[in-house]
């Protein structure tokens, strides 16, 4: 059955073929076919079925849901707390802005009248070199200046207080420690800085005693804190060594004009001068 005639007949049958165009077209149609995405067996329905068959899965899912929901409540509470803090800060910033505005007005109002008085206080000795006085044109940009909040803004209950109290009380204890004179800012905009930084130190003790040192001599005495943050110094005794170019007279003059104090957020000390002349800014040592 497999002679040549049979094979020829088979070959003739094999000649029944697609044309080249038909073949190419079908091939292109198939290869150009974009396979549809295979639907995953892990669908929502199978997940529900799994939960029905295995209660452990259900409990785990419930636990996760409770955990996530509880976490959301906690985060919500934290968020509300942060918002409250932010709102307080906004309020304080508003007060800061108004304070700065008022301060500028005060400075302008006393600029012509009080400048001579300040000069009289500061320049009391002809022998000393003029202190470094710069025009304070931008209070906010000067990092050495106390934050405006510390000037007249509301006090926080975290040890920053201008309320009065006797020495030894918590309020009086705020001042205890050594403070380094950083600068004195006058209401006319001048900022006076010591030439020798870090040498002018005043130390408040809990027993109403104060001592300190300048760039030449040491001093000691007493101080009292009265209501509403009023600060009064008693008589100060001072060594009498002479130093060429000392700035201690300027410093002691400022100290003697102290009226009240306040602390800023950085726990640095601001002592305000009488007659709204300005303030002395100390940095915690």
């Amino acid at each position: 059955m497999e002679n040549d005639n049979f094979k020829n007949s088979i070959n003739e049958i094999h000649e029944v073929k697609m044309s080249f165009d038909e073949k190419s077209q079908i091939f292109n149609n198939i290869v150009g076919f974009r396979a549809l995405a295979i639907k995953s067996d892990w669908s929502f329905n199978s997940f529900i079925l799994l939960m029905q068959r295995n209660h452990l899965v259900t409990y785990v899912i419930l636990f996760i849901l409770i955990f996530v929901a509880g976490g959301g409540v906690v985060f919500d509470l934290l968020s509300n707390r942060n918002n409250q803090i932010n709102n307080n800060n906004v309020g304080m910033n508003t007060n800061r802005a108004s304070d700065v505005y008022n301060l500028d007005n005060d400075i302008n109002s006393i600029k012509n009248n009080d400048i001579q008085k300040v000069d009289d206080i500061v320049i009391s000795s002809q022998k000393i070199d003029p202190p470094i006085i710069s025009k304070n044109t931008d209070n906010n940009s000067d990092s050495s200046l106390p934050p405006p909040t510390g000037l007249r803004g509301p006090s926080l209950g975290v040890g920053i207080s201008s309320s009065g109290g006797s020495v030894g009380s918590p309020q009086g204890g705020i001042l205890s420690g050594a403070w380094i004179w950083d600068n004195t800012t006058l209401n006319n905009g001048n900022v006076i800085r010591p030439q020798k930084k870090g040498v002018f130190v005043i130390t408040f003790n809990l027993d109403e005693k104060v001592n300190g040192q300048t760039d030449c001599n040491n001093f000691s005495g007493s101080y009292t804190i009265e209501n509403v943050g009023n600060l009064n110094f008693g008589p100060l005794s001072m060594t009498e060594m002479y130093c060429q170019g000392s700035e201690e007279k300027i410093f002691t003059n400022f100290i003697s004009k102290s009226k009240s104090y306040e602390m800023d957020y950085s726990c640095n000390l601001t002592i305000f001068l009488v007659d709204n002349l300005g303030y002395i800014y100390f940095i915690k040592k």
């Binding site: 059955m1 002679n3 005639n5 049979f6 020829n8 007949s9 088979i10 070959n11 003739e12 049958i13 094999h14 000649e15 029944v16 073929k17 697609m18 038909e22 073949k23 079908i26 091939f27 149609n29 198939i30 290869v31 076919f33 396979a35 295979i38």
Partner: protein
């Protein structure tokens, strides 16, 4: 990765496309329909390759798919009554086993042989065609027809004996 699949598919297509087309054409005698079924057959192969399904014997796979598609095509035509479809001794009447050479441009000897194959007993017709025309092995034929390889061999032998009697000494 798709390039490898495409290369594999192209190789199979080049080798088997004419056989599948011929198989379809002899069964439904409609060239356009045969082309459509051929395309659908190879499209299913392409999908299986993309889905990383293992196909041990691509020839058997293609002929099986083509045969099923031809059956579906006949069922859609409803040219055969339901009673006629249940008269076969092994699983019912298969309209796709009907073959015709009408409108086929085949040379004389080839047409003669094909007509004789189509005149064979219904059960032996397709095994003989697949064995001698398309050169499929009995296990492959058994897989395509849904019978065992031994049953396929038996049908082939019966069919070839029947063919010998029909053609006389022409192919001896």
């Amino acid at each position: 990765m798709n390039d490898d699949i495409k290369q594999k598919f192209e190789m199979i297509y080049e080798k088997e496309s004419d056989a599948i087309f011929r198989f379809c054409l002899f069964k439904i005698s409609d060239k356009e329909q045969a082309l459509d079924i051929t395309q659908e057959t190879f499209l299913r192969l392409w999908k299986n390759l993309l889905e990383k399904n293992d196909i041990l014997n691509s020839r058997a796979f293609l002929f099986t798919v083509a045969r099923n598609l031809v059956i579906d095509w006949y069922r859609k035509k409803k040219s055969v009554s339901f009673e006629d479809m249940s008269t076969d001794e092994e699983g019912g009447y298969d309209p796709s086993d009907e073959m015709t050479t009408e409108h086929l441009f085949i040379k004389a000897d080839g047409r003669y042989l094909l007509e004789k194959i189509m005149q064979l007993n219904f059960a032996n017709r397709q095994p003989v065609y697949l064995r001698y025309v398309e050169d499929l092995s009995p296990p492959e034929i058994g897989e395509i027809l849904g019978i065992s390889a031994n049953a396929a061999s038996v049908r082939i032998n019966r069919g070839i004996e029947e063919l010998r009697k029909m053609v006389g000494g022409k192919f001896n």
